[in-house]
């Protein structure tokens, strides 16, 4: 489902947000700081700051429904992965260089479109929770008439 091309795109310093919902179908969402697709092409780890995870983890643990959206600032290429929550753990020191490198790529992409790092300088990016998701569908989300097209699915 997540082929090598898509994986390279996902790890290229994107804006990442994870969405969830309550039992009353109220949507919730939070920014993620990095993503790591697993080699099986089916699972991905979404790194969300601990403070942000408080808004989505209770939903994910309660009903499992997740949506993760990715967008590249320089050209607005975007996609969304729908999935099912698997588990979550505090990210450790082993994760940190990877997370920080990807975050740095993201800030670099923002700089390319004229948004200086100072605008995001005070954002919290650690401590982080690693949320594991099993992907069930991938959708095109680049702005335009094709947004929403199904790119891959697996139940």
């Amino acid at each position: 489902m997540i082929d090598p091309d898509l994986r390279a795109f996902l790890e290229g310093g994107l804006g990442i947000h994870i969405g969830s919902r309550t039992a009353r179908l109220e949507p919730n969402g939070a920014r993620a700081v990095a993503v790591k697709p697993e080699d099986d092409g089916l699972h991905l780890i979404v790194y969300v700051t601990e403070v942000a995870s408080a808004r989505v983890l209770p939903d994910l643990k309660a009903n499992g429904a997740a949506a993760v959206v990715f967008a590249r600032p320089v050209d607005d290429r975007a996609c969304q992965i729908k999935g099912i929550y698997v588990d979550a753990r505090p990210a450790g020191d082993a994760d940190r260089p990877f997370v920080e490198r990807q975050w740095d790529l993201f800030l670099g992409n923002l700089e390319k479109i004229g948004i200086p790092r100072i605008a995001s300088g005070a954002w919290i990016i650690w401590p982080v929770v690693a949320i594991r998701i099993r992907a069930t569908a991938v959708f095109e989300q680049t702005p335009g008439p094709d947004a929403g097209a199904l790119l891959a699915t697996r139940s």
């Binding site: 804006g15 947000h17 994870i18 969405g19 969830s20 919902r21 179908l25 109220e26 949507p27 919730n28 969402g29 939070a30 920014r31 700051t49 403070v51 942000a52 408080a54 009903n63 429904a65 997740a66 949506a67 993760v68 959206v69 967008a71 600032p73 320089v74 050209d75 607005d76 975007a78 969304q80 729908k82 479109i113 004229g114 948004i115 100072i118 605008a119 995001s120 300088g121 005070a122 954002w123 919290i124 990016i125 959708f139 989300q141 702005p143 335009g144 008439p145 947004a147 929403g148």
Partner: protein, 465 residues
């Protein structure tokens, strides 16, 4: 609501994308990016509905939504808990949002594709700061603490309009006032060209090239969009840089003939642009554009204020053109020698002594079929200004006359100026500007209202093809 929507005004201008979270009736969440969240009033915002995507489908099933916006000045994120109320497919809000989308789309040739279907209006139930997107300590912009559109500033602007004694001094002093009084360093004024639905630049400020004579079709770029819609457009945002680069790419791929036009001056990387139509009783007399490399340079209050300035300027331009026409001398000025001068007599020795780099002789070629003038193989100008210049140069060559009047140009059947609203003054202005920049050997010097003189600084070889 402890945090007011008004205090989040800078979040609603689209510099950083917003995030929209929705949920379907069967419990599948959806996350999407939004280029723009539109402020409606103190308890409502609007989102654009362009495509029937998943977010839109979810809203029809479940009206609850969450939007996260970012303050571009501080980096602080804000979450807005929303409830869908209704959709509007016409009216001022719809028009404003549609125009913005069209203006952005026009940059990359996608005009008409990114059409707004509706402005979806949401009630804002709750506003909260986003915990991880903490604002920096940099002071937030406080427009009310240092307003630039004061009564004094407006008075200064008004005075400059009243003091102007020609169209040239009017447009120059207005653009200078925009910089000196209001701090808008890059600006331009365009007026309708002879060709239908085309604008031509008559004055610019803040660019290396003066750009006089540059043409823009209605619907192209911000000036063309303003002219077409006859409404102000303000653009700042994430898409600007990318779209501008795409537009440049498209321009480079145009055929050579299409590129033989004067490029419109512009910043290499404009982050903010604002254009207002100059209207007099519904008639478009021009477009005023300002731009900046600063993101979010132009805020809502700037739009309102520049629109007001534009309304003064529109009337002033209209009055100046009508006044010039009514006061033009009735007869040509007979100060010419009786016989044509030799070529050497056309040269001003004083001018060449003052500027020894000026050439002794230049070749001026008029292409009658194209109504286009080339000087030493370089494109100078086309259309009515080209016809006027050729008329002056040939008259000078034939009779030695240097002094001319607007009136005689109006009466000259070969120029075929319209009987009413010929915009002659603006054509002469852009001709003068173009000569200053590209052909300083030929000058057009004002010698009183409705009169001007040719100032030739080298020999001319006139060729008609």
């Amino acid at each position: 609501m402890s945090v007011t929507l008004e205090s989040l005004a800078t979040c609603f201008q689209g510099l950083l994308p917003a995030q929209l979270f929705t949920c379907s009736a069967d419990g599948i969440p959806n996350a999407a990016y939004l280029s723009h969240v539109e402020y409606v009033d103190s308890s409502h915002v609007a989102l654009s509905y362009q495509f029937f995507n998943k977010s839109r489908r979810n809203i029809t099933e479940n009206p609850q939504a969450l939007v996260i916006v970012l303050d571009p000045d501080t980096g602080q994120g804000w979450s807005l808990r929303l409830k869908y109320v209704r959709s509007e497919t016409s009216g001022p809000l719809f028009d404003r949002m549609a125009l913005r989308i069209e203006a952005i789309a026009s940059y990359c040739g996608l005009k008409g594709i990114f059409k707004l279907r509706a402005a979806d209006i949401y009630e804002v139930l709750r506003v909260e700061p986003v915990a991880e997107e903490v604002g920096s300590q940099a002071p937030a912009r406080q427009p009310s603490a240092n307003p630039i559109f004061t009564v004094n500033a407006l008075q200064t602007f008004s005075d400059r309009i009243h003091q102007a004694d020609s169209l040239e001094s009017l447009v120059d002093s207005v653009l200078r006032a925009l910089e000196e009084t209001f701090g808008f360093r890059h600006s331009m004024i365009l007026v309708p060209a002879e060709e239908k639905d085309v604008l031509v630049a008559i004055a610019t400020r803040g660019y290396p090239e003066n750009g006089a004579g540059a043409e823009v079709r209605f619907g192209e770029g911000i000036a063309g969009m303003v002219a077409e819609a006859r409404k102000p457009i303000r653009i700042s945002g994430l898409l600007r840089g990318t779209l501008y680069a795409l537009a440049m790419h498209r321009e480079a791929q145009r055929p050579e003939a299409a590129r033989r036009r004067i490029p419109l001056p512009g910043l290499a990387n404009p982050e903010s642009q604002l254009g207002v139509p100059l209207l007099v009783r519904g008639e478009l007399v021009g477009v005023l554009c300002v731009e900046s490399e600063m993101p979010y340079r132009f805020h809502e209050e700037d739009r309102a204020s520049i629109e007001l300035l534009g309304s003064y300027l529109a009337i002033a331009i209209q009055n100046m053109l009508l006044q010039e026409r009514s006061e033009s001398p009735a007869q040509p000025i007979a100060d010419a020698p009786a016989k044509p001068p030799a070529m050497s007599e056309l040269t001003s020795h004083a001018s060449r002594m003052a500027n020894p780099r000026l050439p002794e002789r230049i070749e001026v070629v008029y292409y009658a079929a194209d109504e286009c003038i080339m000087v030493d193989g370089e494109y100078l100008i086309r259309s009515m200004p080209a016809k006027i210049l050729w008329r002056l140069l040939t008259a000078h060559s034939a009779t030695g006359r240097r002094e001319f009047t607007n009136r005689e140009l109006r009466l000259d059947k070969s120029l075929n100026l319209p009987e009413w609203k010929d915009n002659l003054e603006s054509r002469l202005l852009l001709l003068r500007r173009r000569l200053e920049q590209k052909c300083p050997h030929i000058g057009l010097v004002s010698s009183g209202r409705g009169r001007f003189a040719l100032d030739l600084r080298c020999e001319l070889a006139l060729i008609e093809r």
